[in-house]
Symmetry: C2
Subunit: 140 residues, 2 copies
């Protein structure tokens, strides 16, 4: 059930707690780029004692050890995403959904040679998503 996450935490030398396991598992199984609020309210259902502070603390430590990444696309709040291969994000301004975009930029290498030490790369696109475009068409 949790072996995968126990292993990930051990590899990163992070102390194992049920809360961290649940949060990491939640992010792995829900690639919806949730906010702290969302993670908190979802996990609180099975663990009513859960504290929001714990969610903040946990995502912080998972983030610092590179097990998850933070997404700043929406401006008003941070969102989190289980770390896997590089991908970008599209924010629909109509429905608010954040959709994964899988592309690789061939120029990326040269971008990285700017003299700065680049650790993170984020591509954010914004506009109207496919679904919302189709909804609009149906109405007409």
């Amino acid at each position: 059930m949790f072996e995968k996450y126990v292993r990930l935490l051990k590899e990163s030398q992070i102390k194992i707690t049920p809360q961290r396991l649940e949060i990491l598992k939640y992010l792995d199984e829900h690639r919806t780029h949730p906010t702290v609020e969302k993670i908190y309210s979802e996990l609180k259902e099975n663990n009513p004692a859960l504290s929001k502070t714990t969610v903040y603390n946990s995502v912080d430590i998972l983030l610092n050890h590179g097990l998850i990444q933070s997404i700043t696309i929406s401006g008003s709040e941070l969102r989190y995403d289980f770390k896997r291969g590089m991908h970008h994000h599209f924010l629909c301004k109509k429905c608010g959904e954040i959709i994964d975009i899988n592309v690789e930029c061939p120029k990326l290498g040269s971008m990285l040679e700017c003299g700065h030490e680049v650790v993170e790369v984020h591509g954010y696109f914004k506009g109207i998503c496919k679904k919302c475009i189709n909804k609009k068409k149906e109405k007409n």
Copy 2:
């Protein structure tokens, strides 16, 4: 002095007010990606009556008309940037500075053909900037 900004506001059919002119001018002349707080405290020096709400309102309307863009790279607060050719941003995790990165991704066109209607494109890089790397070297 303000002709350029008067023209820009007129073209966008935004009502001209001294506050909007000052804010637009400030963003044009200070490409430092300032926060609302920064814009407010800087402009308050010459206009003590300035209200922070006005800065929020003004950047909102300038944003909605495409005269400026918002940057969500730092997560905790929105930053603003006078609109010009496309460029990306690098956030130094040490000194917090946000540096412009001028690159064009040749794959961008194909990225845009994902079925979604793409309106905005943002590239965010994070790491340690040139200056901070050199500072570290000097210490050793």
